[in-house]
Symmetry: C2
Subunit: 797 residues, 2 copies
């Protein structure tokens, strides 16, 4: 045992015998309750000797990490109570669900949240039975768990969530247990660098507790198997000041951990005081606790002759044959009794006062933190009037704007309006400028605590634009920020949103579950702005071309996911306004940053976005008395432009053809109502797209998505979709659409090919279109630019 740190005096935080006894009792109680959840479906207090029928038929859960989590929770209780802290804990090893549930039952929040699971013997029986049991509660920390904002099933995001929670929460302490397995992941490895973004003035503190229990499922962990000086150097290299606690003697570890916690909190208080009261601007070296205890500590030392405690064998269920194997049953009973439950719980199963000695009161309890139920704290975002930011339209296509630059004005206004409240942030991987949102810097700067130099622009110690070249950190920080009741937006290159595919999966799963829990209040949606999209990778080419994030998200729970493809600046404003006001959604907005024709006035844009899809009558040539001959549908800015150019060609060359132009902004509108809350009923779909006319659909992404959304519609056999099909390079904008057969000429050819009778009637037009494509191919190879007729095209309808 040791609490190794040059400046930790062994006296600091020293526990007196009564306090030590009380802390140990709490820890033992939590351990007892953890084991009980994994194994028992009856006889929770061991009122009688254990019999096979008391044991669950399926033993599921993770013991290995639980005693460590219980230890940390116990000691957090102590310091929260002693210092009256407003604290939250992120449990990285979320598979240690039994531990977090045990503590929440002990601190009383579980019974307050779920009255059926009372803090007594009857409640304990329910707590045990429900765990990892069909119809019960998940084996991991989950939305169902009071006090949690982090599921921890997919490892890697705990520390990012913790920092996200701490941003703009100056009075909050966010403890974060980082498992040594999780610490091997990329996102976690990068997360340590958040020390360069945490503002000691306006942000709260994060106290990482790196828990080295030495093993993963079947392997040792890296950080537990490097010399201590190497680990120490690593953490110092990340900008931390480490304090080491190590041991397997409970009493000694209690003393050392208490001292380490006190020392850490003293340092944090000192850092914050110096920054806030004394105006110190040097980046602080925040403390980190390295806690080294055995995996499955206090569990069976060995089973069937094989070492378990302190090894990878303690990861899940150390005694696996309890129902069938009498030795295992005996061993389990001895294990449970080793915690001396009779000292911990009274006859009615209520925790004895000594056990609860360390537990804080009311909302100070970790299980009851309002920050972990962020909707409780959420305030409406002060959204400015869109009129101030909208683009003026004389006629469709009469002007050109960069949609994201226009959006930047709106975001600036929101940033400005939240200057005092500080509950809105914009995250991005070094692309806020590149994505043309730089108006934001009129209202705030870029968060930065590291060194500065002459040429820097917009860096600011208290900035609320957060840029780091890690999509994982942007996503994790934003999630933590939203889950604790704030608002935000993540702006990314479209292709690289895939970097966080698995993270958004987990966030959607969280939201889906949370929506079903009445006690969880709605939180602000997670808003993506995907820009620098597939069609305009002029500098970067093939590797930067991928529109599939939309497909990925649309596989997930329809009550959560929303996908918008605004075709111009004003529709982007309307969609962003809606997304920023919404709750419990994941909104994906795909919009270009390059100059784009302005099609709709703000008024029309708002109406169009509210409908999600509609006919652009001004763009077509149909007469109202009958169905059109063909529908040109489009979604996305570039496809909309090509569609309108095609409509333009058709109007000039085939004026008698009745063409309808339909633009889709809200992709889920294409689904049937049973598949998505935004899905449109058949009568509406049929009225828009017809039941039997050819539909040429120019779509921003992979074309089959449109089929996947629309396959149940009557008109589906007539639906012909053009989109991105993995053809790309560094080339011109128009060459990109030609390579993928989404260009205006190809769309006209599609019309000629698919409208009955037209193939014969319009032979010359079809040839002219094919010639234009040939002309393009020749021109571009010689000049490296787009055909003048394309580059100079404007809508003249």
């Amino acid at each position: 045992m040791s609490a190794r740190d040059g400046s930790v005096s062994s006296g600091s935080g020293q526990l007196d015998p009564a306090e030590l006894r009380s802390l140990d009792a709490h820890w033992r109680a939590a351990n007892y309750l953890s084991v009980g959840q994994i194994y028992l479906m009856a006889n929770p207090l061991l009122a009688e000797p254990l019999r096979p029928e008391h044991i669950k038929p399926r033993l599921l859960g993770h013991w290995g990490t639980s005693p460590g989590l219980n230890l940390v929770h116990t000691h957090l209780n102590r310091v929260i109570k002693a210092r009256d802290l407003d604290a939250l804990c992120v449990w990285g090893p979320g598979h240690g669900g039994p531990a977090v549930l045990a503590n929440s039952w002990l601190d009383g929040t579980y019974a307050e949240t779920y009255p059926g699971v009372s803090r007594d013997g009857a409640g304990m029986a329910r707590l045990f039975r429900q765990f990892s049991f069909p119809g019960g509660v998940p084996s991991h920390v989950a939305p169902e768990t009071p006090g949690s904002i982090h599921e921890g099933g997919e490892l890697g995001y705990s520390l990012a969530h913790a920092y996200g929670a701490a941003f703009d929460n100056p009075e909050l302490l966010v403890a974060c247990v980082v498992g040594d397995g999780e610490a091997e992941t990329g996102p976690l490895a990068a997360s340590w660098h958040a020390t360069k973004f945490l503002d000691p003035v306006y942000d709260g503190a994060v106290l990482p507790i790196l828990h080295l229990n030495g093993y993963k499922i079947a392997n040792p962990t890296l950080l537990a198997r490097i010399p201590q000086d190497e680990l120490d150097a690593l953490l110092r290299g990340y900008g931390h000041n480490p304090i080491h606690v190590e041991g397997d003697d409970p009493e000694a570890v209690h003393q050392a951990l208490a001292a380490a916690m006190d020392r850490s909190l003293d340092r944090i208080a000192d850092i914050q005081r110096r920054a806030r009261a004394e105006g110190e601007v040097d980046r602080p070296r925040w403390p980190v606790i390295v806690l080294r205890t055995p995996k499955g500590w206090t569990g069976p030392h060995d089973v069937d002759g094989l070492a378990v405690e302190g090894t990878w064998r303690a990861h899940q269920v150390p005694l696996s044959g309890v129902r069938e194997n009498r030795d295992h049953l005996r061993q389990l009973e001895a294990w449970l009794r080793s915690y001396r439950p009779e000292e911990l719980f009274d006859e009615a199963g209520r925790p004895r006062p000594e056990v609860l000695g360390c537990v804080p009161e009311g909302p100070r309890r970790l299980g009851a933190s309002p920050h972990a139920n962020g909707g409780l704290l959420l305030r409406e975002l002060p959204m400015p009037s869109l009129e101030r930011h909208a683009v003026h339209i004389d006629k469709p296509g009469g002007g050109l704007h960069e949609p994201t630059r226009v959006l930047g004005g709106l975001l600036e206004a929101v940033m400005e309006a939240t200057a005092e409240r500080r509950d809105f942030r914009v995250f991005g991987p070094d692309e806020t400028d590149s994505n043309r949102l730089e108006a934001l810097y009129e209202a705030t700067g870029k968060a930065w605590q590291a060194e500065t130099a002459g040429g820097d622009e917009h860096l600011a110690r208290h900035g609320r634009v957060v840029e780091v070249l890690s999509e994982h950190l942007c996503q994790g920080w934003l999630e933590g920020y939203l889950l604790t009741g704030r608002h935000g937006l993540f702006s990314s290159y479209e292709a690289f949103a895939h970097i966080v595919d698995s993270m958004v999966n987990q966030h959607i799963k969280w939201l889906k579950t949370a929506r079903g829990l009445p006690w969880r209040r709605p939180i602000a949606s997670l808003n993506y702005l995907l820009t620098s999209h597939v069609w305009r990778q002029d500098h970067n080419g093939f590797s930067h071309q991928d529109p599939g994030f939309v497909d990925h998200v649309l596989n997930k729970s329809p009550e959560v996911v929303r996908v918008y493809l605004p075709p111009d600046a004003n529709t982007l404003l309307a969609v962003a306004d809606h997304a920023l006001r919404s709750r419990d959604h994941v909104n994906v907005i795909v919009a270009g940053k390059q100059p784009c024709f302005d099609w709709l006035s703000l008024h029309d844009a708002q109406a169009h976005c509210a409908r999600g899809a509609g006919v652009w009558g001004w763009a077509g040539t149909e007469v109202s008395s009958r169905d059109p001959d063909v529908v040109l549908a489009c979604a996305g800015d570039v496809p909309t432009q090509e569609t309108l150019a095609a409509a333009d060609l058709l109007r000039r060359h085939l004026p008698e053809l009745a063409v309808r132009v339909v633009n889709v902004v809200d992709m889920a509108r294409l689904l049937p109502p049973g598949e998505h809350p935004h899905g449109m009923p058949d009568f509406e779909y049929d009225a828009l797209f017809t039941r039997d006319k050819p539909v040429i659909f120019a779509y921003h992404g992979y074309p089959w998505l449109i089929h996947r959304l629309g396959y149940r519609r009557a008109g589906h056999p007539n639906l012909h979709v053009r989109g991105y099909k993995e053809e790309g390079s560094t080339t011109t904008p128009f060459d990109m659409v030609v390579r993928n057969d989404l260009d205006r000429y190809r769309l006209v050819m599609d019309v000629v090919d698919r409208v009955p009778g037209l193939a014969v009637h319009a032979v010359a037009l079809r040839q002219e279109m094919a010639d234009a494509r040939s002309r393009h191919h020749a021109w571009i190879r010689e000049h490296g630019t787009d055909l003048p007729e394309v580059a100079e095209w404007t809508w003249t309808g």
Copy 2:
């Protein structure tokens, strides 16, 4: 300037004046060629004053990183030549394409690969014009670039690729330039820990060169803005021994970098000698070079009054208005002439001898390394006879095996057969045991160079199973291993394959492009075994349930992607055998690890997998003279079991109903032939699924994937798909299928609902099925286990 390292003597690696002049000439030449590529479409040698028409109409590319890459390349040339090294370089800042192309043109490999781009003035003109020009070459390092295995467009994977290349390549030096932007990403941050996996005996060496040029697109970088002692601690914490080089005076930096390279290579040689000759087993502290030079070094110092060199403004194209702005044009000419091209190239545009003084010969040239065209080195994998590993089948469903455990035997045999060659590895995030592949440990151990302790199992300094809790590292290492001509497999929990969505995107893009380049030889496929799948997350629940990786991959280039869902142990063997023999593909194999009925003999399995989809006549009740009444289709092990159980119920309850059972292994078979090389023609699809009978398709993943694959088929309106729809928790296997409406009872109800006339005829059966579902719900809440009739079900057909 400095080469700071306690042990670097300034004399070591000191360059004599002639060598210094020659190196500097090479560097200047590479810089000149880099600038030329970005700007010029004519007048490459500045034979006349620059005029606007010499300038490309679209200026695209990245200058900022290029001089640094050129510097490193120049100095790598020197040491390769001096030491006769077998070397490869991974260029992390892949957007510095101009630099790598320039060097490859200089070392002659470019002209050997593309004879049209000769090493003379005419070739230089082509080199310049083609860069980032329509129909030319990409702006990034790419498959088209000789000597490259790493595109670098999506940042984060360079160091993982480098380690993958070094594994089992004992004579190879892999230099790896890590950009300081890239260094902020999670995957890169985790990659440094590869020091605990690199075997100094059987692996080659990796020399990371952390290039701090200080800025990203618009921000400073983190690692350039922490004190040097903090950065030093970080790298030491990762297990490295850093050597720092810093400066902006070319001559001094040449001297320092030469010394640092010599020192690094001396150390590497020493480490390898001690491990190989002296049997030293302590983990070595490998060198890393920290190179700090200005961004856009030697470029315009300022432009329009704003500082450019040494700032983020140097990132892309420092002078952006060259065609229109005479000052910019003059500045560009001065910039180009500052390299003194007349000293570097003769009148014919050929590099002068002094420029080429450092360039190695033949395959020693970085542009010509056979490791960067791995197919050149690839050997057929010695695949064992499947008979030895197959499961014996008396009758369908007569036995139960864990498919992945059976596969483990096959993999063990491959591992054994490659014990000397060492060109096969299995990668996984701590799940090789959990995924029941542990037979592998009969043939090899788990690679591990960190500390060991008593309870460890199967750790081995020379092991070829590689486990780390980072899907990013597993993927990156395997990619590097395959790209350099070896074989491997990545075994992962199905849900967490999404962690590498964006990485597999990039690998597929690489393969698609490489397949179109005749000089690139085919490499071994990237094989995924996705197990611990959505239906069997008994311990972990909702967060571990995601079958969408298949959807993600099927969006990508059809010539590359393959998806297999073998329904039992022998089909898994057949599929794995095929995948391991294949080339230039990404094979996704989804297979369970839980006991699963054995349906097919090896012979039948091989035939079935070769077809990819087929009727299981023994499972149905159709008579050959007519179409069946209904088709029960299935893909995946759990859906297959439920389908057969449904067929069983139908046989017993509706013996007169003609039921056909179709199993699909190769998902791409469902596509039309025009959409995928494995797509089946309509006549075959219609023969299998009928054109007009109801098809009830039980699918492993998201049900709409089947519609997306099959929407063009005549029978599509009759296709009804069941699959996973984001309903899950920690519960029993059967409850999972009930929650998602994929269970046998539901499938029978679907049949009753969809076969014309059956709704009336089979009212009682439908009610019986609904009752069984109710019985399930009641039973599971009480007992926590599956209904006995389900748990004990076996096929009796």
